[in-house]
Amino acid sequence: MTAPDLTLDVRGLSAPQPLEQCLEALTGLEPGQQLHMLIDREPWPLFNILERDGYEYCCTFEETHFQVSIWHA
């Protein structure tokens, strides 16, 4: 059975705290599980790290913030 998805709300945090918290959360992400990060800005630096480290992601704008969903490739 796949572990339930994780949600990480980093809205209101200044750079680079969202990145720090996301990297920490990713260390516990299991295959098949997704991490949903809610963030004020589109996290471009994170996308480069995700691509480098073998994750897939999808970023959508949700009226007031962005949601980035991340999972193992």
Binding site: L13, S14, Q17, T27, R41, E42, P45, N48, D53
Partner: protein, 449 residues
């Protein structure tokens, strides 16, 4: 337009760091000079000691920090890497540092050899810096990030202002060194240096960095679009009026008033943005921004005192409010964001590699400090309190209060030492982090498969 930074474009640590570390060193030197000179240090804007102190502040503290930070910002916020950046820093940093020391010596001992040497060193530093950065801006003009175009206008204006301030300053120092009659453009030199270079660069940085690092609302679009164009136009008008005989002083004052109103509007908007930021607890950097912007608002009554009052100290108080209060506070506060951020970023880079092992990533996360731990909040707030006390004391000293004139130098020394201690400790933590990463990697490699 939302604000974003591309951290992968961060230049090597050796690029901005030498400039940033000049800040506590020159602050310490200025504090020692003010202490040594005693009450004479801020007696008149025309005294040799005051002029030496002014240039230790503007070139040694503010100039160094702004030149270093700009190289970083151009790369990460605008996608404008500076060509030959390592070589540039290797030349510009020592030229700027030595030139500033020589200029201060020239003012202190009214020494023509020092003035002429200072002109040679500083002119070389600025020609190299401005030429290379301008070349980078031109070469990468097609690749600038869309969201960064608005800050590039104030940055270009700031760089052009710096070129003019340097040109005017160099000709003034040359005239001093060769015992020639001083050209009548001191006002323009001061205005292009402070309102042009200092003000425009700070304005551009707030447009870009405040929303990211202070989590504020972005600035109103008309302000980000028109203000950076209005300021250089007003400065040009002011200089033209200064150079023209026979025109009423009222016209120049009208231009000054509009310029002041523009900056006060920006300062009030910044304060409003900081006050309504998403994070309710202010960090040390936020407190420095408050001091900076409140000092800017204080310039309005000080300007009225200068233009319509009879006090001889008004110009000195206004100068201290701008140099120490507005620009000094912003630079000091930004160090608490820029330095820990750079150290954190370069420590992160030290563990980067394709397809990191998740187990190893967990180990690295344990040994690598978080950005907030490089400089503790209490330590930063303590230095902020010292900086605030020093700023108020320098303002009172400039206004003529004798007790403040005695305390101004020692308070700057205290603030500079605390800043040096905080930055030094952050560097030590960075070195320890790199060592811990190397040890963790070695221990991981020794584990049996």
């Amino acid at each position: 337009m939302q604000r974003a930074l591309d951290f992968d474009k961060t230049p090597a640590l050796g690029v901005p760091l030498p400039f940033l570390l000049n800040v506590p060193l020159f602050a310490l030197l200025a504090g020692l000079l003010a202490t040594w000179a005693g009450p004479e240090a801020l007696a008149s804007r025309w005294s040799g000691t005051t002029l030496a102190l002014t240039h230790l502040w503007t070139l040694g503290i503010l100039g160094s920090a702004m030149l270093g930070a700009l190289l970083q910002i151009l790369a990460v916020a605008c996608n404008v890497p500076t060509p030959g950046i390592r070589l540039l820093v290797r030349w510009v940093h020592p030229l700027l540092t030595t030139g500033t020391l020589l200029l201060a010596a020239g003012f202190l001992w009214w020494w023509s050899t020092a003035w002429i040497s200072a002109v040679l060193f500083l002119a070389s530093a600025f020609v190299l810096y401005l030429g290379t950065v301008a070349w980078g801006l031109w070469r990468h003009r097609q690749h600038v990030y869309r969201g960064a175009r608005e800050i590039l206008v104030p940055v270009r204006g700031a760089l052009a202002s710096l070129a003019l301030a340097v040109l005017l300053g160099a000709s003034l120092a040359t005239a001093l060194g060769l015992s020639l009659a001083l050209p009548d453009w001191l006002g323009s030199h001061v205005l292009w240096g402070l309102a042009g270079w200092g003000g425009l660069l700070l304005m551009g940085m707030t447009f870009q960095l405040l929303p990211i690092f202070q989590v504020t609302e972005i600035y109103p679009r008309p302000m980000t679009r028109w203000m950076p164009l209005l300021v250089p136009i007003l400065l040009l008008a002011w200089s033209a009026l200064e150079a023209t005989d026979g025109l009423p002083r009222l016209m120049r004052e009208a231009v000054e008033l509009i310029l002041l109103a523009a900056y006060v509007l920006w300062g009030a908007t910044t304060l409003q943005r900081l006050w309504t930021r998403k994070r309710p607890t202010p960090e040390a950097t936020t407190l420095f921004w408050y001091v900076s912007m409140l000092s800017l608002l204080a310039c309005a009554p000080l300007w009225i005192w200068l233009t319509h009052g009879h006090g001889t100290q008004a110009s000195l108080v206004l100068g201290v409010a701008i140099i120490v209060g507005v620009l000094g506070s912003a630079v000091n506060g930004m160090l608490y964001k820029i330095v820990p951020f750079l150290l954190w970023k370069h420590a992160q880079d030290s563990i980067s590699g394709p397809n990191r092992d998740p187990a190893m990533a967990r180990v690295y996360l344990k040994v690598l400090p978080k950005m907030a731990t490089y400089i503790g909040e209490t330590a930063a707030r303590t230095q902020w309190a010292a900086h605030l006390a020093m700023t108020l004391c320098w303002l009172l000293a400039a206004a003529g209060w004798q007790a403040a004139r005695h305390a101004a130098g020692p308070l700057l020394i205290v603030s500079a030492l605390l800043l040096a201690f905080n930055l030094g400790r952050a560097l030590l933590r960075y070195r320890r982090a790199l060592r811990a990463v190397a040890e963790a990697a070695a221990s991981h490699a020794r584990q049996p498969l």
